[in-house]
């Protein structure tokens, strides 16, 4: 390994050759500003077009300034990261970017969370010397994502996520010069494209060009309608991230405060999607064992591996890109939709009200959930099982709007019956969690023995594709895990080619799983935040007395009183679904 000696702002630095100036500087505590550049370390994701020129530095002996993000260090380099020349160049670049940027910061959805705004502030821009044409591109609204292309600075981060990481291929830079924008093919709207609404473009956009559809207004309206009973469910990953919106350390578990906040917002019952996650395990785990049993009995028609189906972006992905495989994923609905279906039947009956008078709101780390709850198959007489899905960020906005001092809230518990959950439901929020939860239940149902251990470290981690073999008391079960749709694609292509030996595969669209969802507090390029959220969920699992879905007493009661047994006709009607060829 070659070593390079250089100085950065007069400090001697020793780094490996092949290190960029940006990385070398950050190693000695000099944080060179960047805008287009983004690197998510543990996930192997990098966007490095070298396009914005904000990160330029002065290199002694070099005629022009060097972009730090894509210039490698060399022996004896002398670098100045904040000389007069550098600062002037950065300000000029920023002014040029802003000369074509709408001046609606005060009312922009991204205000306060905008990297462009922060950078303009840090560079002390007080005047823009360049006046010229402003782009006026139409707004594109889909069920989940809004594109306001006028605010695009062509950093290409969304393109990297959409093409390289997710391999969805909806977004590309089109046209030339002043006319260039990031757009779907033929400038069609997102809702006509093969967009999965995974929201990873939203998660990385440094400006307000890509945001989620804001549904907080609808929630406020429902809460203030005296004729409606309004209940809420919270997805597992939300509790591990919501605190960040209130200045708390990444990885802070705020389950109790979140429940307290929701109660103060006026929800009549505060329930948990984790309950529905436990229910998902009962259905999906049973389906896995059924298919496996048939396979072992020599049935050639049975489809294996079974693929998880909790993630709406993943469902839309295979409906568009692998429609011939639509009978392989589990037919189990996602936890969000299982919750909605049970709430509007079982729970509405308990309250003695009509489904139309019950409003189900879900708090999700995800923007695709907005699209999912609008799918026709999840409606009865045009009334959706889940009325509104809002993101973690939107919940934070609602809490701030309602003058609730989040950090000083007491810890409160979820309501029953749909608020009780096990540790297995909690870990649904991270990559590997759904399959681990399924293993805990499927093992005990299949072997009729108690699991000797509950923590399956071999299923955990951040690697894009993982695999493990779990011993079901003499029967080796081969499990695959993929997060990020590009990784999912690789496993799907193996299945297509007949090369897959897995019995079950868990797939999550977002890198890291739901903890890295498109609706979570912005990570601003710090992948370490996702790891902390992941650790928080495993901690919450450990803290639980019950850690296996089939031991959840309210799940047992739900089957006894209402559903019968897993995969029963009623369960099938309410908790399973079908998929469509969208090509």
């Amino acid at each position: 390994m070659d070593i390079v000696n250089l100085t950065i702002d007069n400090k001697p630095v020793v780094v490996k050759s092949g290190t960029t100036i940006l990385e070398a500087a950050s190693g000695v505590g000099m944080h060179i500003p960047t805008l287009c550049h983004m690197k998510l370390d543990d996930l192997n994701i990098e966007n490095k077009p070298g396009g914005c020129r904000i990160c330029v530095v002065e290199v002694e002996g070099r005629r022009n300034l060097a972009p730090a993000c894509c210039t490698d260090v060399s022996e004896g380099m002398k670098i100045n990261t904040h000389s007069m020349r550098v600062i002037n160049a950065r300000r000029t670049v920023m002014e040029l970017i802003l000369s074509d940027h709408p001046f609606d910061c005060l009312i922009c959805a991204k205000s306060g969370n905008c990297e462009l705004q922060d950078l303009a502030h840090n560079l002390g821009i007080r005047e823009i010397h360049y006046k010229g044409e402003q782009s006026t591109y139409r707004e594109d609204t889909s069920p989940a994502i809004i594109r306001e292309v006028d605010k695009c600075i062509m950093c290409r981060r969304c393109e990297t996520m959409c093409n390289e990481v997710q391999t969805v291929g909806v977004l590309s830079a089109i046209n030339r010069g002043f006319e260039s924008v990031v757009s779907p093919a033929f400038e069609m709207n997102l809702d006509h494209s093969v967009c999965t609404y995974c929201g990873q473009c939203v998660a990385v956009c440094p400006t307000g060009a890509l945001t989620e559809v804001d549904e907080t207004g609808k929630v406020i309206r429902a809460l203030s309608d005296p004729t409606k009973t309004v209940i809420v469910q919270t997805a597992p990953a939300v509790r591990a991230a919501l605190g960040e919106e209130f200045g708390m350390e990444a990885g802070s578990l705020v389950t109790g405060k979140m429940v307290a906040a929701l109660r103060r917002l006026g929800f009549d019952h505060v329930f948990d999607t984790d309950f529905a996650a436990d229910l998902t395990i009962m259905e999906e785990g049973t389906e896995l064992l059924n298919r496996l049993g048939k396979h072992l009995a020599g049935d050639k028609d049975v489809k294996l591996p079974i693929l998880t189906s909790c993630c709406p972006a993943w469902v839309k992905f295979f409906e568009h890109q692998f429609p011939e495989m639509k009978d392989i994923p589990s037919t189990a609905r996602s936890p969000q939709q299982m919750f909605g279906a049970i709430a509007k039947t079982y729970f509405a009956d308990q309250l003695g009200i009509k489904r139309e008078d019950l409003v189900v709101v879900s708090i999700m780390p995800c923007v695709a959930k907005k699209y999912e709850c609008g799918r026709d198959e999840f409606k009865t007489n045009d009334n959706p099982d889940v009325d509104h899905a809002i993101t973690t960020r939107e919940l934070a906005a609602l809490i701030k709007l309602s003058n609730i001092e989040f950090k000083s809230l007491p810890n409160e518990d979820f309501d029953n019956p749909l608020g009780e959950s096990t540790g297995a439901g909690v870990i649904f929020g991270t990559t590997g969690g759904v399959i681990e939860a399924a293993v805990r239940t499927a093992y005990e149902i299949h072997t009729k023995k108690e699991l000797p251990r509950l923590d399956f470290d071999e299923l955990r981690g951040m690697e894009g594709i993982r695999e493990a073999t779990i011993d079901f008391d003499g029967l080796p079960i081969k499990i695959g895990i993929a997060h990020g749709l590009g990784n999912a694609r690789k496993l799907l292509e193996d299945i297509q080619a007949g090369k897959s030996e897995f019995h079950a595969i868990e797939i999550m669209s977002c890198p890291g799983g739901c903890i890295g969802g498109g609706g979570q507090p912005y990570h601003h390029g710090d992948a370490g935040i996702l790891k902390k959220r992941q650790a928080a969920l495993y901690q919450e699992d450990k803290n639980k007395t019950l850690r296996k879905s089939h031991e959840n007493p309210h799940i047992i009661e739900l089957y006894e009183k209402f559903l019968g047994e897993p995969m029963s006709e009623k369960a099938h009607h309410l908790l399973h679904t079908e998929y469509f060829d969208r090509t």
Binding site: A173, I174, R176, S183
Partner: protein, 160 residues
């Protein structure tokens, strides 16, 4: 965008061209060149076939088609007229030449005449700057073109 149905032999033609370039994504520009030279233009449906064959996204293909002014999604006239707007031609008056073509044919850049005989496009340098301003009609190159020559050039093709 109006959908057109591509004839089966057109689809086969596109596939063959892609195959000539080993269905490599890196050959996208060459493929687009060849296909446009055969079909005259690159409508959305053609781009969809190319994207599929080269295993890339149709957004990427559209991105390349809209980046290069040479590529067009509008059908060309029987006699495609291109006026060079490169630096040398421009300073020697190609804009006036272009305006004269637009005036005589009553079409804008990128459009075809109603009878489908002519279309006008701009291009950037054909590598004959010594002949500036340069106009090409199909494969034929005209040098040192003045606005007063435009009528004569059009007439050459009008009655064919």
């Amino acid at each position: 965008m109006p959908k057109i149905k591509l004839a089966e032999n057109t689809v086969q033609l596109i596939k063959d061209i892609c195959k000539e370039f080993e269905n490599k994504e890196s050959e996208l520009i060459n493929v687009l060149h060849q296909v446009q030279s055969k079909l005259g233009y690159l409508p959305a449906e053609v781009q969809e076939v190319i994207a599929k064959e080269l295993k890339t996204s149709v957004a990427k293909v559209y991105g390349v088609v809209t980046f290069y002014s040479f590529f067009t999604m509008i059908p060309q006239g029987e006699n495609p007229i291109s006026i060079c707007m490169g630096t040398a031609c421009y300073v020697r008056g190609s804009e006036q030449v272009l305006n004269e073509f637009k005036r005589q044919l009553k079409v804008e850049v990128g459009e075809s005449t109603e009878d489908g005989k002519f279309s006008i496009n701009c291009l950037r340098c054909v590598g004959a700057c010594g002949l500036a301003p340069v106009v090409t009609v199909g494969e034929k190159v005209y040098g040192r073109v003045a606005p007063t020559d435009v009528k004569k050039i059009i007439a050459e093709y009008r009655n064919h």
